[in-house]
C-alpha cells in the first residue's frame, strides 16, 4: 500500500500525469465529423479518442425490438482492436455489452421517448484509443451526436468520473489511476436540470469520500458541459457566418 501511495500522488499533491487532485484532463470536442450519419461527434478526453454517430429516429431493426408506445434507443459501445496496448478482439466482449447498456440508460432520460412511438434512434460509439474513463467520454460524445441529429432532448448529458487514489479523492481518473487506485465513481449528469443519470462505483469509499467524489464529478461535468455547448454551437455558427 505504501509503495502505491508514493507512486500515484507525490508529496505536493501532484498526480503521476502532472495534474492536481481536482483537475480535468484536456478535452477537445467536435460535432458533425461524419458525413453519412444523421449526427456525429468526436471527443478527445486526455488520451481517449472516441467517435460517436447517431441515426434516426428511424424504423427499428430487428422489428421485434419495436415498442408500440415509445421510441427505443439502441447504443453500441465498441472498442477498436487497436484502442489498447494488447490487441483487443473485435468481437463484443462482456464488458462492452454492459457498457452499451449503461450508456443507453444514462442517455434515455434526456430523450422524449414517448413523442415518437414505433421508432428507434441508433447510437454507435467507437473507441479509437482508450485511457480510462471511456464510458464517461462516450456519454459526452453520444449526447452531442444525438443533439446533432436533431432529436429533441431535455438536456445534453455529460459524463465524468471521480475516485480515490492513495488517500485522496481525485477527479477524472486515467488508466493507471483507475487500475491501481482505490475507487472509481463514474457519473453522468444533466447540468441544466441538475439530474444524475448514471452513478456507478467500483472500489471502496466511506460515505464522506463518496459524497465528495460525486460532487467533484458533478463539478467536472459542468466544466465539460460548457465545452459541449460550445462545440455544438461552433458547427452551426460556421453555417451562420457563411450566410452573412
Amino acid at each position: 500500500m505504501n509503495e502505491k501511495q508514493e507512486k500515484l500522488i507525490d508529496k505536493k499533491g501532484i498526480r503521476l500525469d502532472g495534474r492536481k487532485a481536482d483537475e480535468l484532463r484536456p478535452v477537445k470536442l467536435q460535432v458533425g465529423v461524419l458525413g453519412n450519419a444523421d449526427g456525429s461527434a468526436y471527443i478527445e478526453h486526455g488520451k481517449n479518442k472516441i467517435l460517436a454517430a447517431a441515426f434516426g429516429p428511424r424504423e427499428v431493426h430487428p422489428k421485434h425490438l419495436m415498442q408500440a408506445d415509445r421510441m427505443v434507443l439502441k447504443v453500441r459501445y465498441h472498442m477498436a482492436p487497436f484502442s489498447v496496448q494488447e490487441r483487443k478482439s473485435p468481437a463484443p466482449s462482456r464488458r462492452e455489452v454492459e457498457l452499451s447498456k449503461v450508456i443507453k440508460e444514462s442517455l434515455e432520460p434526456a430523450l422524449f421517448l414517448e413523442l415518437y412511438p414505433r421508432t428507434g434512434v441508433d447510437v454507435y460509439v467507437e473507441v479509437l484509443q482508450a485511457d480510462g474513463g471511456t464510458r464517461c467520454a462516450a456519454i459526452t460524445a453520444a449526447a452531442l451526436a444525438i443533439a446533432d441529429a436533431g432529436v429533441p432532448m431535455r438536456d445534453l448529458v455529460v459524463g465524468c468520473a471521480a475516485g480515490k487514489v492513495d488517500d485522496t479523492v481525485v477527479l477524472d481518473l486515467y488508466d493507471a489511476e483507475d487500475k491501481l487506485g482505490v475507487a472509481d465513481v463514474p457519473v453522468a449528469y444533466m447540468p441544466s436540470l441538475n439530474a444524475i443519470t448514471l452513478l456507478q462505483m467500483d472500489g471502496i469509499l466511506d460515505p464522506e469520500e463518496f459524497e465528495k467524489a460525486v460532487n467533484m464529478a458533478m463539478e467536472g461535468c459542468k466544466k465539460i458541459y460548457e465545452m459541449q455547448k460550445e462545440a455544438l454551437k461552433t458547427k452551426y455558427m460556421v453555417v451562420k457566418e457563411v450566410e452573412e
Partner: protein, 241 residues
C-alpha cells in the same frame, strides 16, 4: 421576482442548445421547447424568438414528422400486394393503397401494380391519416397529386420550408412568377421544380438554395427579388448579343 416581472434568458435570434433555460414565469412553450418545473427550456439546437408570450426555437436541425393533410413528395420503395410503400423522409414509412390510385375497386387478378408505380418512382401525395398507432397513409386522389413525370428534385431541411413559402406565400409566389416555374414544396423537405426549359429550373433551384442558406436574415424576399431580376437581365443581354 418583483411584481409581474418575468425574466427571459435570451436575446432575439440567439443560438441555443438543448437544455438551455429560456424563460421563467408567465410564458408559453412554443416549438422545440418544453416545460420543467415552470421553466421553459430549449429541446433542439436553434434560434430563439418570442411572439407575445410564446417562446419558440427555430430548429437548425430537425426531421419531418407526418401530419394529416400535409403535401409531401416521396419515393416508392416497394410494390406490395395491395399497395406501395413510400419513403417520405420521416421516421415512419408511408403506405399508398392501390384502390386509392386506381379510383375503382382493386382486383389483384386484373391489375399489375408495378405497371402503375414501381420502386424508384417519385410521387406528390397528401397524408390521408396518421396517428401514434398507425403508419401514415397517403392519398393521390386530388388534383395536382400523383406520379412525377418531369422536373427536378431538390432536398432541403424540413424546417426551412416555411421560409421558402414566406409570409402568406409571398416568397414562393414571387419565385414562381419570376422564373416561370411550377414549384411544389413537399413539407418533408423535398421540392419539385418544373419549368419550360432547363435554365428556368436552374434559376429557381439556385434561388431556393440561396434562401435555404440565408433563411434567418431579414428582408430576404426583397433581396431575392432583386437577385432574380439581375439574373434575368443578364440572360436577356446574352440573348441580344
Amino acid at each position: 421576482m418583483i411584481g409581474d416581472f418575468m425574466p427571459t434568458f435570451f436575446e432575439k435570434k440567439q443560438l441555443v442548445t438543448p437544455g438551455e433555460l429560456l424563460a421563467e414565469g408567465d410564458y408559453l412553450p412554443g416549438e422545440n421547447t418544453y416545460v420543467e418545473a415552470g421553466k421553459i427550456y430549449a429541446s433542439r439546437i436553434g434560434l430563439v424568438d418570442s411572439e407575445n408570450k410564446k417562446v419558440n426555437v427555430v430548429a437548425l436541425r430537425a426531421f419531418y414528422v407526418p401530419k394529416m393533410g400535409d403535401i409531401i413528395i416521396g419515393t416508392v420503395t416497394e410494390v406490395g400486394f395491395n399497395g406501395w410503400t413510400v419513403n417520405i423522409k420521416a421516421p415512419y414509412t408511408a403506405m399508398l393503397r392501390a384502390s386509392d390510385v386506381l379510383a375503382r375497386p382493386f382486383k389483384p387478378q386484373n391489375d399489375e401494380l408495378s405497371q402503375v408505380l414501381t420502386a424508384g418512382d417519385l410521387i406528390v401525395a397528401k397524408i390521408a391519416s396518421f396517428d401514434r398507432a398507425h403508419d401514415p397513409q397517403l392519398t393521390v386522389g386530388e388534383p395536382g397529386l400523383g406520379k412525377i413525370t418531369r422536373g427536378q428534385i431538390l432536398h432541403v431541411t424540413p424546417t426551412k420550408i416555411p421560409r421558402i413559402i414566406g409570409r402568406k406565400g409571398s416568397m414562393i409566389s414571387m419565385i414562381k412568377q419570376e422564373t416561370n416555374c411550377q414549384i411544389i414544396l413537399g413539407l418533408n423537405g423535398v421540392i419539385l421544380v418544373t419549368g419550360k426549359n432547363l435554365e428556368d429550373e436552374e434559376l429557381a433551384i439556385f434561388v431556393i438554395r440561396k434562401i435555404e442558406e440565408e433563411s434567418h436574415t431579414s428582408g430576404l424576399t426583397d433581396r431575392i427579388t432583386q437577385l432574380l431580376k439581375e439574373k434575368k437581365q443578364v440572360k436577356v443581354e446574352e440573348k441580344v448579343e
